[in-house]
């Protein structure tokens, strides 16, 4: 349909143009010119379509503007496991993050995101491999939280999020984490100090 309309428009344009200058050569010459021009136009349309489709494909596939909410959800599961002092659940959550990350292969196209992904991957692996060592898992949770905060800063999110801060973790240097709920439930200390922390930012 599109091609037919294009053909009609272009051929009408060339008929109009040619009739002004080359009237003595007449119809045949015009037809050939029109045919040649239309063929060229169709070819151009095809390549434009191909490029357009490629761009569409790139935009549909995970790129900078991609929604990383799936990773966020896995991260929340990890966080909630640590809140409940559940090392095994945390290890499982780490494993799920690793699987989810693999779905975002195109992240490699953006250097910053690729580096964040590399970091999330390493930290998730440590968390997965340290069932029973919740302190170690929490150390890597601190690192993965930073990664997630940086990822959201680049890619944005459709979720309502809170950035919380625990002032005591890491030798009182403090550590931030992301939460889907407003209420403070500390993943770094769990039941030991569950309400410790404050909301620093609301997304």
């Amino acid at each position: 349909m599109k091609k037919t309309i294009t053909f009609a428009i272009i051929s009408s344009l060339f008929v109009a143009c040619n009739s002004k200058s080359d009237s003595h050569d007449g119809h045949n010459h015009e037809a050939d010119t029109v045919k040649g021009e239309v063929t060229k136009a169709i070819q151009q349309m095809d390549s434009t379509h191909a490029e357009h489709n490629k761009t569409l494909a790139e935009n549909d596939a995970p790129a900078v503007k991609t929604n990383y909410d799936e990773i966020l959800n896995d991260y929340f599961n990890l966080k909630n496991a640590l809140v409940k002092d559940e090392s095994k659940a945390a290890a499982d959550a780490g494993s799920v993050i690793l699987t989810t990350l693999k779905k975002f292969d195109n992240a490699k196209s953006n250097k910053e995101i690729a580096e964040i992904f590399e970091s999330i991957n390493e930290n998730a692996e440590h968390i997965k491999d340290n069932n029973g060592k919740i302190d170690h898992q929490r150390e890597h949770f601190a690192m993965i939280s930073k990664d997630m905060i940086d990822l959201i800063a680049i890619a944005g999110t459709s979720k309502k999020l809170y950035q919380d801060f625990c002032p005591m973790f890491n030798d009182n240097k403090g550590a931030p984490w992301l939460s889907e709920i407003k209420e403070i439930k500390n993943p770094f200390y769990g039941s030991e100090m569950i309400t410790c922390g404050s909301v620093k930012k609301v997304y």
Binding site: S119, E139, A142
Partner: protein, 145 residues
């Protein structure tokens, strides 16, 4: 009983023939971590003595590394060590990765998880004194963000 012993002996000889490539790089210039930071002298020597055998591209192999199954166990440690952290490849790490590693090293040293106890058992000079640990951790904290 005698047959079993003979079998074990023969197996012992056969496994000696498995000698995987050694973790040694020809160019022994300082690069990576040691090049990037002007580390105080004792930090350098701590790293070289207690860490580099597993966490660099150059292992100082002892005489018994020529025997199996010791060598096999050693290579497994070296491979895992390098995968987790390789000081010679430090310049290839992103800033994020460097910071992650620095934090991990501090925690491992604090908790005495590193150097590995099995390594310390044989390499008595690799054992980190309280003074060594403090020097190392203080230095690492100074380069962390």
């Amino acid at each position: 009983m005698k047959k079993t012993l003979i079998l074990i002996f023969i197996l012992g000889i056969i496994i000696q023939f498995y000698q995987p490539a050694r973790n040694i790089t020809v160019e022994k210039t300082e690069k990576g971590f040691l090049k990037e930071y002007s580390n105080p002298k004792n930090v350098r020597s701590i790293l070289k003595t207690s860490c580099f055998d597993c966490h660099s591209n150059n292992t100082e192999y002892p005489w018994y590394s020529y025997f199996q199954p010791t060598r096999f166990i050693m290579e497994r440690h070296i491979k895992a060590g390098k995968e987790n952290l390789n000081f010679d490849e430090w310049e290839t790490y992103s800033e994020r990765k460097k910071q992650n590693k620095i934090k991990s090293i501090i925690e491992s040293v604090k908790k005495e998880e590193m150097p590995m106890s099995s390594y310390n058992f044989i390499h008595r000079n690799a054992v980190l004194s309280e003074f060594d640990k403090k020097k190392l951790i203080d230095f690492l904290k100074s380069i962390s963000i």
